[in-house]
């Protein structure tokens, strides 16, 4: 069984929009959802549908995994990559990637995205955070006033 598993050369991931990604096994190690799927199968080639992740997002996740799985890259280069990786994303992208990370059960990537989002909303106003998540308030003006009172001591 163990010998057979190591013979898997290529894993095919199929995103929600049908786009196909072929990756090496070490790339998906971090994706526990995918990994448990592979472990259950007894085949040399596997193809895994990911109906909750879109192609664009999966491409980004794979790019991240490739960089971090690489043994040639220095720690500094990986940090530099992380910085640029977050910088080019919109808030919407980050949230989608966070959800994808949660679905794929990718612990370190999930933490990485959550940290990036937390850093952006910390010390910002309620209005900013609503904009960020594109949520409109569904509280009545009276409730709003009450909530503001509760947050009165949180000076920013």
């Amino acid at each position: 069984m163990a010998a057979e598993k190591s013979s898997i050369k290529i894993i095919t991931l199929i995103a929600a929009d049908g786009s196909v990604f072929e990756v090496e096994p070490n790339i998906v190690k971090e994706m526990k959802t995918v990994q448990s799927y592979i472990d259950e199968l007894d085949q040399n080639t596997v193809s895994i549908p990911l109906p909750n992740v879109f192609g664009n997002d999966l491409a980004m996740i794979i790019e991240y995994c490739k960089k971090h799985a690489s043994e040639e890259e220095t720690k500094e280069a990986k940090e530099e990559f992380d910085f640029e990786f977050v910088k080019r994303m919109k808030s919407d992208d980050k949230l989608r990637l966070l959800q994808a990370a949660s679905y794929l059960n990718m612990e370190s990537f999930l933490q990485f995205m959550a940290k990036a989002i937390a850093a952006e909303i910390e010390n910002q106003s309620v209005e900013f955070v609503r904009d960020y998540f594109q949520i409109e308030s569904d509280f009545t003006p009276e409730e709003e006033a009450e909530l503001r009172k509760e947050n009165e001591w949180a000076f920013k």
Partner: protein, 398 residues
């Protein structure tokens, strides 16, 4: 709008990942984004498995107004909500809870805990009748108060009376208070106190200069008995000189007991200062120069050593907050804050040296840097106030 609201129902585990990297104020802010988030955040708070990062302490400033000083904005904020009435006095704090007394009736007082964030109130059902007998004449009231924890069952509350000869202790939510007095003929005065767990530590006056410890659980046969724990580190000799009513003090030492809530350790803070002041009727009437700190020493009580003693500790990885009614020491790592905001080797000070002729000259709100021994004052506009505020540190919590 419909398509915009996809993040309205963010899965709780995803929301938690973001939340656990944020302090309490952000928890409350996320709660006020929309109704589904309000429910999610409330659930996360209630389950207690994902606690917020620690908040920075705030200073409660109270005169005819009630204000809060924030370290993150380095400014004073006025609250719109009325937290306290005129007859309410704050005697101390434990986490986000203020320990408050209501003194409307002379000779007795009622007490309550007030959460400065939620405005929740927990009343102490038993009234305290101040003992009529005392070595010291005059009107009796409570000075500083401390508590072992948030106001839950088995929390202990203790306070020094203003005669410095009596300590009142109370266990939530029992029927009555217990009064502790020094042993007869010992001539000891109680100067400061702190509770850790079920132990009450009391600092005595500069003559006996020691720490007494009381086991609060031991109250079956009358009030708990004092045990002399250890002497306090030696003070520098105060050098005082005066010409007429003009005085100069060198190495005047202020002592404070402090606790680290997280590690349950007891600390002692010595603040040496020089001051120049004028005297009227044997008390300070005005400062010619505000008290100027020359050095501040922090000692930790070493309980595991034999004999029990004090260790002078470095403050690189700790930070101390000093006020007359609450002092605390915290680990800087735990505070998880921007290193610029809470610098190492610093003592944050919110004190008031009483001085009737020019009250504001004794008001101090700032940070003392141990490295270059200098004080940086935080901006405080005194022009809008009649009276100097009483200041008290507390850490916002639920």
């Amino acid at each position: 709008m419909e398509q915009n609201s996809i993040w309205k129902n963010l899965p709780v585990d995803v929301l938690e990942e973001i939340m656990k990297r944020l302090p309490l104020r952000e928890y409350l802010e996320l709660r006020s984004i929309c109704f589904p988030w309000w429910i999610s955040v409330c659930n996360v708070i209630a389950k207690e498995h994902c606690p917020p990062l620690p908040e920075l302490p705030l200073v409660l400033l109270r005169n005819e107004d009630l204000m809060l000083f924030s370290l993150s904005t380095e400014s004073v904020h006025r609250l719109k909500t009325t937290l306290l009435k005129r007859a309410h006095i704050c005697h101390g704090s434990v986490e986000g809870w203020l320990i408050v007394s209501d003194n409307t009736v002379k000779g007795s007082a009622t007490f309550f805990f007030l959460n400065a964030v939620t405005k929740d109130r927990i009343m102490i059902p038993s009234k305290l009748y101040f003992p009529s007998k005392s070595l010291v004449q005059g009107h009796r009231y409570m000075a500083k108060m401390v508590a072992s924890s948030k106001p839950v069952r088995d929390c202990y509350l203790a306070g020094i009376l203003n005669d410095f000869c009596q300590i009142a202790i109370y266990k939530l939510f029992e029927k009555s208070w217990t009064i502790i007095e020094p042993d007869k003929d010992s001539r000891i005065y109680f100067k400061d106190l702190e509770i850790i767990g079920t132990k009450l530590y009391v600092r005595t006056d500069t003559i006996s200069h020691s720490i007494l410890v009381y086991d609060l659980k031991d109250s079956t046969n009358g009030p708990p008995k004092a045990e002399m724990l250890t002497k306090l580190p030696k003070l520098r000799q105060l050098v005082s000189s005066s010409i007429g009513n003009h005085c100069i003090d060198v190495d005047h030492t202020l002592c404070f007991l402090a606790k680290d809530e997280a590690s349950r350790e007891l600390y002692l803070i010595y603040m040496m200062c020089n001051m120049e002041y004028t005297v009227e009727y044997n008390t300070v009437s005005a400062f010619v120069k505000p008290p100027e700190y020359t050095t501040i020493k922090v000692f930790k009580l070493e309980m595991n050593k034999e004999p029990i003693g004090w260790q002078n500790v470095r403050m690189d990885d700790r930070v101390a907050f000093v006020s007359s009614y609450k002092c605390m020491v915290m680990s800087r790592d735990k505070l998880n804050y921007n290193k610029e905001l809470i610098r190492g080797n610093s003592i944050y000070i919110a004190l008031n040296f009483p001085c009737p002729k020019s009250p504001w000259s004794g008001f101090q709100l700032g940070v003392f840097c141990l490295t270059n021994r200098s004080m940086k004052y935080f901006p405080f506009d005194t022009s809008n106030h009649c009276r100097v505020p009483r200041s008290l540190w507390f850490v916002p919590s639920l």
